[in-house]
């Protein structure tokens, strides 16, 4: 990157710096018409399907099938939601919640020590472990699903919620370790040294220094692991079978065939499956967005 500003700068120093100071963030994209129009177009592309999702889920079946799907429902009804709730939705929700919570706990309990060791020690073993996790980001779940089917079967876990939880947690770990070691690295060496002089054990340093100061990273990891567990499809599809162990994503897929042309009911099921995630988004938007934005800066 080399932009030569030297020839121009001296003549204009009198006027330019003051203007720059008064406008703190000038230039960046301000009034860029192409991006502005583009973003409006994208807004429409995002909103039309979402609007149809909501409005059609409130329609009677014949209106959804014969009327204008873009119109507002003439006689809004919650019947579709009742249909979904009567079709075992709550059991799907319960299973998914168990899977999500267990995944988050497992990921945090296993990843925090790995990240802490990676940041606080300089042995070759720990850097090797760190590199392994780095590489792990690129392992697609599809690639290992056949062996996992074998492995889970041999462990006697086929068609249980554990069959979903264990691989989901493992595949959430690489990103968790990367994010956690990123935030833990920001804890300054002086603070560790100060605690060491007080005779603190490594465990106390982890618990009273590293963990409290990486709350941001920990909540990002928790939310992402939960999201991954909530939205996962491949592991439940291959590793479970019975209705009692069915999770939401698989349930939606089943509804699609079961309800057939009762499209409003299918859409209502989608809406219901998103509500919990949406609630989390409203509460924890910052942690979610900042975590993702950090990916581009590293």
């Amino acid at each position: 990157m080399s932009i030569d500003t030297r020839p121009a700068a001296p003549q204009r120093t009198s006027s330019v710096p003051r203007r720059m100071r008064s406008v703190p963030r000038p230039r960046r994209g301000t009034g860029n018409p192409v991006a502005g129009i583009g973003s409006l177009i994208w807004l429409v592309i995002v909103l039309v399907p979402l609007y149809t999702l909501l409005s059609s889920s409130l329609m009677h079946q014949d209106e959804a099938l014969n009327g204008d799907p873009l119109a507002f429902p003439t006689d809004p009804t919650l019947d579709n939601y009742t249909t979904v709730l009567d079709s075992g939705f709550l059991s799907l929700l319960g299973n998914t919640a168990v899977v999500a919570v267990a995944t988050v706990v497992l990921v945090l309990v296993l990843s925090v020590p790995v990240a802490y060791v990676a940041v606080r020690t300089r042995s070759r073993l720990s850097s090797l472990a760190f590199r392994t996790f780095l590489l792990g980001v690129a392992i697609p779940a599809q690639a290992v699903i056949v062996p996992l089917y074998l492995l889970i079967g041999k462990m006697g876990l086929y068609d249980s919620l554990w069959a979903i939880i264990l691989p989901t947690a493992a595949f959430a770990m690489p990103v968790a370790v990367l994010v956690l070691s990123g935030t833990m690295r920001d804890v300054s060496e002086e603070m560790y040294e100060a605690m060491a002089l007080d005779g603190a054990s490594p465990l106390r340093m982890l618990w009273q220094l590293a963990v409290p100061l990486s709350k941001g990273g920990i909540s990002t990891v928790a939310i992402f692991s939960a999201l991954q567990a909530w939205n996962g499809f491949l592991f439940p599809l291959i590793l479970t079978q019975s209705e009692e162990n069915r999770v939401l994503t698989l349930g939606l897929f089943t509804f699609m065939t079961q309800f057939g042309v009762n499209i409003p009911a299918v859409l209502a099921a989608i809406v219901l499956s998103v509500v919990p995630i949406f609630a989390v988004y409203l509460v924890a938007r910052r942690a979610l967005v900042d975590g993702l934005m950090g990916v581009g800066g590293k």
Partner: protein
């Protein structure tokens, strides 16, 4: 600080002494590493092993040497699936990169309106791939979906899922609809880290907005672009969910991408040995592409975007 080796320098010695106090034992990382290895690394090795066997999922896998691999290279269905995977990945990359780049740079501005729109753009990322596929399956139903109303306006045939090209484009579009916010955020984060002074210097030199974009924004975002592209390539494998739900690999086999071919071979015809061979090929291709990208973009050598400043 009691023992001095003859060659130890003073500084390094002191550092080691202070540094060794309160370091956690490396053993703490062992449970996490073992767990990850058991469910991610070991299966990768087993996949390679299974690719040399024949296995129906019931009996034990039986070694058959290179049979699966010779079959793979002669299998026209595998060839088609590999081609479709490459095509789909390229189409999605070409669709998502420019849009995410523009939206991301635009959203990097701190205006309130942009923050609000960004929050709306984020919503698709909250839905599962499954929910989105089921949603678009309903929207694109040629008889009952929105597509019969809106389609004609924007030049989309209501029966778009019935044509080979249409179905593939729809899969790419649906994937983009879901993951655009993710890549937008990555670019937004990258754009916010570009030093303001570069833009100030450029505008003093009289560079207009377009030149600033091509000579500052774009080069400064090259690491971001690599990150985003690698994630897109790895992520294009998740189109499996979309394909399974929306097209079942059809019409015919015209959206049968590698992950779907693997699924069909492994879990519908229970030819798990051959499915493992397809899976192994998939990993090799995905990792290879990612490494190539990292190498050619200079990301691996960690060349700084701050060079020359």
């Amino acid at each position: 600080m009691s023992v001095h080796t003859p060659h130890a320098e003073r500084g390094g010695d002191r550092k080691a002494a202070v540094g060794s106090v309160g370091r956690p034992p490396v053993g703490w990382a062992v449970p996490g590493i073992l767990f990850f290895a058991l469910f991610a690394i070991v299966p990768l090795a087993i996949a390679v092993y299974l690719s040399f066997t024949t296995w129906d999922g019931l009996d034990s896998p039986a070694l058959t040497g290179l049979d699966n691999w010779t079959r793979l290279f002669k299998d026209s269905e595998f060839g088609q699936a590999a081609w479709l995977t490459l095509l789909l990945t390229t189409i999605s990359w070409a669709f998502q990169t420019p849009v995410a780049l523009l939206l991301g740079v635009w959203a990097a501005g701190r205006q309130r309106s942009r923050a609000v729109l960004s929050a709306v753009f984020f919503i698709p990322l909250l839905l599962s791939t499954t929910a989105i596929a089921v949603l678009f399956h309903a929207l694109l139903d040629p008889n009952f979906g929105v597509v019969k109303e809106i389609g004609p306006w924007i030049g989309v045939d209501p029966n778009v899922m019935g044509s080979s090209t249409g179905a593939l484009l729809v899969v790419a579009f649906v994937g983009g609809w879901q993951f655009m916010p993710f890549h937008t955020l990555i670019y937004q984060g990258g754009a916010r880290q570009i030093p303001e002074v570069l833009y100030q210097a450029a505008s003093i030199d009289g560079a207009g907005m377009i030149r600033q974009f091509f000579h500052i924004t774009l080069p400064q975002l090259r690491h971001t672009m690599t990150t985003s592209s690698v994630l897109m390539i790895v992520g294009s494998l998740t189109y499996f969910d979309t394909v399974l739900i929306m097209t079942k690999g059809g019409p015919g086999t015209d959206t049968t991408i590698l992950p779907y071919l693997m699924y069909r071979t492994g879990f519908q015809t229970y030819d798990l040995g051959y499915a493992a061979a397809i899976a192994t090929a998939l990993v090799v291709v995905a990792t290879g592409l990612s490494l190539l990208l990292v190498r050619f973009s200079g990301f691996g050598s960690m060349r700084s975007t701050r060079e020359g400043m």
